[in-house]
């Protein structure tokens, strides 16, 4: 829930295990304790989307926990370090080496799909220059812009942990298959129905709305790759495209808010132990001040459901 700095400080000092999202400035002032933090000023609160540099979004956990930091060279151990029956929340600073390493290689890390790994990419207020995306290890009250901070949680053996996503996008089956010769956060060329062409040309010629992501086909599950920019023929993404994945542009949706709430209505009985949602959903969906019925949490600059995903709500259930 959203809390003041003072109330958050009290909770930390009471010894609780906490996940905290908030502005870089506030996170750096919090006392040492059993907490992890990441920078964002965007939140989905119970009463709607909010932007605040005065409040912190605090999630408390009553499970055994350990907190670890990981450099780009160490992040491959994140799943191996996770508890067998539990879940781990990774916070990774946007555009850091560890962000890029994780985005490219997470699927090959030891035990990645045998453990429950979620998390998010920390960011900044998009309207305030000079901020730095950080992840904070509360044990030493140190903020990192080059390391991931991970809260590993151990859930009792009689409980079942589920990692779930809400992806309002699906492949537009009437659009061509797009593939890439190389993995990467950017691309110049691609194959459109196996014919090589410049991706920026394809987007322009077909008047593609780049608010819609590319949706990768993962054996029945759609994984989104969001467009970041198109400059001088180079198309940049918020997560890497992969050469072994078949993509299509997402099917258009009508009303973002309505689409979200209609999806969430089907999940009304789900109780999320943790949730995060994408900044692009927040911005493109105009969610500030609008109520999304469930799944409060930070608004983030990339979401982790095992691998890095985009324009997706990620949540964890413990039943």
């Amino acid at each position: 829930m959203l809390m003041s700095f003072q109330d958050t400080t009290k909770l930390i000092e009471s010894g609780k295990t906490l996940h905290i999202a908030g502005t870089e400035n506030l996170l750096k002032k919090l006392p040492k304790g059993k907490w992890v933090g990441g920078s964002t000023e965007y939140f989905m609160a119970k009463d709607g989307g909010k932007v605040s540099n005065e409040l912190l979004f605090v999630t408390e956990f009553a499970y055994e926990a350990s907190i670890k930091t990981y450099s780009a060279a160490e992040i491959e151990n994140v799943a191996a370090d996770a508890y067998d029956n539990g879940f781990s929340i990774a916070i990774i600073p946007f555009d850091s080496a560890v962000h890029k390493e994780y985005a490219h290689n997470a699927d090959g890390y030891k035990d990645m799909f045998m453990k429950n790994i979620v998390g998010w990419i920390s960011g900044v207020n998009l309207g305030v220059p000079g901020q730095i995306p950080i992840a904070v290890c509360g044990l030493c009250a140190t903020a990192f812009n080059d390391k991931a901070v991970v809260l590993h949680l151990n859930v009792p053996k009689n409980k079942i942990v589920g990692v779930n996503i809400v992806n309002i996008f699906a492949q537009d089956e009437s659009s061509p298959v797009i593939t890439f010769a190389q993995d990467g956060f950017s691309a110049i060329k691609c194959f459109v129905d196996e014919k090589e062409m410049e991706l920026s040309d394809y987007i322009a010629q077909n008047k593609i709305d780049t608010k819609l992501p590319l949706v990768g086909d993962y054996a029945g599950n759609g994984v989104n790759i969001s467009f970041k920019s198109i400059e001088n023929g180079v198309v940049s993404f918020y997560a890497p495209v992969f050469s072994h994945i078949k993509y299509r542009i997402a099917k258009s949706i009508g009303d973002y808010e309505q689409e979200f709430n209609s999806r969430l209505a089907k999940l009304k009985d789900a109780k999320a132990a943790f949730a995060c949602n994408c900044i692009l959903n927040f911005l493109y969906g105009g969610l500030e001040g609008k109520q999304i019925d469930a799944f409060a949490g930070p608004i983030t600059f990339g979401e982790i459901a095992y691998q890095l995903v985009n324009q997706t709500l990620v949540y964890v259930t413990v039943d």
Partner: protein, 71 residues
Amino acid sequence: MHLTAQQVEKLLLGTQTFDHLSFSMLLVRLKMLYMKDSSPSVLQNCTKEICGFLDKFQNAMITDCAILAKL
């Protein structure tokens, strides 16, 4: 649930779709590995990994297990 190497090969070369997110992601990675190197040792490793996954998570993927049982 146990799959034989033969069943796993069908899975790696097939177009089945699944509900379970991490199983789908795992399968896509293993398909890529097997496409790069279709040797018996890679197939054996894929089989071990898939069976290990199913041992742990099959209770959470009843619909998907019904698809796997038809391989």
